[in-house]
């Protein structure tokens, strides 16, 4: 025990989480501390560095935490005296995800994880603090306020909304390029290029690239007669070669080609021309890579002729979603794009059916309902749809209904082939219940809204989220009008919807443990759809109906709009919108991992951080429930 250790303990005592520990404990910790001096601009650790055995407390000076994305350094946080950072080794095993650099000359205390861990284990408040600070997403300004700037996150979800996703995607290119020796004759090389149907070859020596030969060279130097075809390749090759590293992005490759005015890039192991050849990128590869861009996908959908074509496009969409999530493109951007593509697929499916059946005998509208209607369908879930056709004279009614039922059956069958399962509840346009005339639908909605709970206890609220996929816009508007007319002063309807929203099972037990499935194939898994997402979706729908929010179907957007319309409760709505994104992301990741709808999350496979994120995202739900209870004064059905 020495006096300096006591001074350090004194210092730590002032700041969380150390204020939860006794002086005795702090002195013990202080004894094992290392004091480090960092010069201005000195880096303590950077992205991808192996984890240190300590975490850090700033004693004096300022440390900048930043991440580098797209060659731009983005500051995440500044740590001043008393701030802790570098918590990653506590919770994760992978390398650092950010850079810590001294903004000015700083003195920091390095506290060994091994020393501190027992105190964490014995003191839940300390653990909570560390977990919270680790899991908090500091790129979200709301959270920054909550934590008073004293917590430094180490876990970054970086989203650059302006950046186009496509530019981050990695290129796939030819990894076994044609390589020729420097002594080869032009004729031989030309023959080899023709045989392997490529327009470029790399001239190599010891597997290092020396030069490159392309069709252009052949054309400008041989075909013009400047060199005979018996000359050696080194006379006409372009040298040196423009070399790049293996994991180059589309944007970079494009820039390099433009800058160097070349059509081919040689990929080498370390990106220099003094290392092994790994492949060749041609202009064509860039074009192919761009084909995964959403605009191109939609164009292809419009041109596709069979369910098989559509299926391959839907598979590419899944890839696109997966890549975008990994590149931390914001989930709302992804779902916007995904839903446009889904919509295009549905539209094309209807078109294909019409091509088969002949033109429809009356005007109609094909509406997507449920998640697709809300534009939230990231994964291949089941299809929900309804069909509304305009009123026809009684004598034609039978034929017309017949036609549309056939249309519904055919279209849903196509969609099933693409990968969207049939709705288990039969909420599809192929069902004669949900394929009817405008008058019948008007009656249906009136019925649902004015006498809820009378005919069927189970009105599906999904009928109140719809989006036109094909047909007459006017029919959709008509339905919308019916709904909003009925909403006025309809306490009974809100009472019903409100109760429906509240009836969902709670996600957490009294002891803040996740409630998991008790029986069945999904035993011990967490039902994220019913327990976490549905209450938010239902809540958003309920409020937007009551505030007359038209044309906003998306849960995320609904909450955002509600925050504007009802500023008193803005905070709750905004929290809900964030929570919704987090939950969707978790569900999507789970779904991508298991190739299903991601409804059931296996908690054991979640990291501690993700679990904490999940738990945090469940918190706003309770506030929303209270709000529903207050606003709608639920009585009739409870």
């Amino acid at each position: 025990m020495n006096t300096i250790a006591e001074h350090i303990a004194d210092f730590l005592k002032k700041y969380p989480p150390f204020d939860n520990l006794s002086f005795q404990e702090l002195s013990e910790i202080a004894t094992s501390i290392r004091v480090v001096n960092l010069e201005k601009h000195k880096t303590l650790f950077q992205i991808n560095d192996v984890l240190h055995d300590s975490f850090y407390v700033v004693a004096s000076g300022v440390i900048n935490l930043s991440i580098i994305a797209d060659a731009e350094e983005t500051l995440l946080n500044k740590c001043v005296a008393g701030d802790i950072f570098g918590l990653r080794p506590f919770f994760a095993k992978n390398n650092y995800m950010m850079t810590a650099k001294a903004r000015e000359e700083s003195i920091i205390y390095a506290i060994p994880i091994a020393t501190f861990r027992p105190f964490v284990a014995n003191n839940s408040e300390v653990l909570d603090f560390l977990l919270h600070s680790f899991a908090t997403n500091t790129s979200n300004p709301n959270d920054m306020e909550n934590i008073g700037g004293k917590l430094i996150s180490d876990n970054v979800y970086y989203s650059n909304q302006q950046s186009e996703m496509q530019y981050f995607q990695l290129l796939s290119y030819n990894i076994s390029p044609l390589k020729v020796a420097i002594t080869s004759m032009v004729q031989e090389v030309a023959q080899q290029m023709t045989d392997s149907m490529t327009n470029g070859a790399i001239v190599s020596k010891d597997n290092y690239p020396i030069g490159i030969i392309t069709n252009t060279d052949m054309c400008s130097k041989i075909a013009t007669g400047r060199f005979p075809i018996t000359t050696t390749i080194d006379r006409i090759m372009s040298s040196p070669v423009v070399t790049v590293v293996e994991n180059i992005s589309l944007a970079e490759a494009q820039l390099l080609m433009l800058k160097n005015n070349v059509t081919h890039l040689c990929v080498t192991k370390d990106g220099s021309d003094k290392s092994d050849i790994k492949g060749i990128i041609s202009e064509h590869d860039l074009i192919v890579a761009q084909a995964n861009n959403p605009g191109v996908l939609i164009k292809e959908i419009k041109r596709s002729q069979s369910p098989k074509d559509l299926k391959s496009i839907r598979d590419r969409l899944t890839n696109l979603i997966q890549k975008s999530i990994h590149k931390n493109v914001s989930i709302s951007n992804i779902s916007n794009i995904a839903s446009e593509i889904n919509l295009a697929i549905i539209k094309r499916s209807v078109e294909l059916s019409i091509l088969d059946l002949g033109s429809p005998p009356a005007r109609f509208a094909w509406l997507s309902i449920g998640s697709q209607g809300r534009k939230e369908q990231l994964l291949l879930t089941d299809q929900d749809s309804i069909l509304i056709f305009e009123d026809v004279t009684a004598d034609k009614y039978r034929d017309v209904k017949d036609y549309f039922l056939k249309l519904g059956k055919r279209t849903t069958a196509i969609l099933e082939k693409v990968g969207y399962e049939f709705c288990p509840n039969g909420h599809m346009a192929s069902n004669m219940l949900w394929c009817k005339s405008l008058t019948d639908w008007t009656k249906q909605y009136n019925n649902w809204m004015n006498t809820p709970g009378e005919n069927s206890n189970e009105i599906s609220s999904i009928f109140f989220d719809f989006e036109i996929a094909f047909g007459e816009q006017k029919i959709e508007e008509a339905i919308e009008n019916i709904i909003f007319n009925n909403v006025k002063n309809n306490a009974l309807f809100f009472d019903f919807l409100g109760n429906d929203a509240l009836r969902k099972n709670a996600p957490l037990s009294f002891f803040k443990k996740f409630i998991v499935e008790e029986v069945g194939t999904n035993k011990d898994k967490f039902d994220i759809k019913t327990r976490a997402l549905m209450p938010l979706i239902d809540g958003a729908r309920l409020f937007s109906l009551s505030y007359n929010l038209r044309g906003v179907n998306n849960t995320f957007m609904r909450f955002k709009q509600l925050a504007i319309i009802d500023p008193r409760n803005a905070e709750i709505y905004l929290n809900c919108s964030e929570a919704f994104l987090t939950l969707s992301k978790i569900r999507t990741l789970e779904g991508l991992k298991n190739d299903n709808s991601g409804q059931f999350v296996n908690l054991q496979e979640l990291s501690k951080v993700d679990k904490e994120n999940l738990k945090n995202a469940l918190a706003p739900m309770r506030e929303l429930e209270e709000l529903i209870k207050n606003k709608f004064q639920l009585t009739q059905f409870s």
Partner: protein, 198 residues
């Protein structure tokens, strides 16, 4: 005939022989130290306390430290001035011989660092002589000289306070040899990186 050599060897206490044997290897450990003394004359004055930290890999190890107060009752008695602080303080007090012995064990073959380190070394040497040992063999670095080298100043000495001022070492309201040693250690880290020593 060789008896006298044996005698010399026998004269050294065990801990000193042990200390000498450590110099076969070079050390990468620095020991920053500061002594508090009764005055400035190595022959007449004695050490009251030693504070010391080790520095390895550019960081100060708080746990690897040495802190001792020497109970110099004889000195006080002979000079008739009682240092009340030392006598009354609740700090653990060691006799000079055990104190120096423990300190020698602590430093081993490390490179010593201090402010006007020559004086500290002289004081320790004087104490060692009283124990029948030889002189310290450690290399020693002086932060004042490091500072003057950095700025190329030859005609002026800097006090510890001045150096702390220049390098913006946080001031502390407490004052002890440990406190000073800690400041010296921080100064040493800063000077070391500025001079590009590694």
């Amino acid at each position: 005939m060789l008896d006298w050599i044996k005698n010399i060897k026998r004269e050294y206490p065990e801990f000193w022989k042990n200390y000498l044997s450590k110099f076969d290897k070079k050390s990468n450990r620095f020991v920053v130290l500061c002594t508090e003394t009764t005055g400035l004359n190595p022959d007449k004055d004695v050490i009251l306390s030693i504070g010391s930290f080790s520095v390895i890999n550019n960081s100060i190890l708080i746990g690897d430290s040495f802190e001792a107060y020497f109970a110099q009752y004889k000195f006080f008695h002979d000079n008739g001035n009682l240092n009340e602080f030392t006598v009354e303080s609740k700090m653990k007090k060691l006799g000079e011989s055990e104190g120096i012995q423990a300190f020698i064990e602590f430093i081993g073959n490390s490179i010593l660092v201090g402010h006007h380190i020559d004086f500290d070394v002289e004081m320790i040497n004087a104490a060692l002589e009283r124990l029948g040992c030889g002189r310290l063999k450690n290399e020693a670095l002086d932060i004042d000289i490091m500072h003057r080298k950095l700025l190329d100043i030859n005609n002026k000495q800097f006090s510890l306070e001045e150096l702390c001022e220049i390098y913006k070492i946080p001031k502390s309201d407490r004052n002890s040899s440990s406190e000073d040693a800690y400041k010296i250690a921080l100064l040493f880290l800063k000077l070391k990186s500025r001079l590009g020593l590694n």
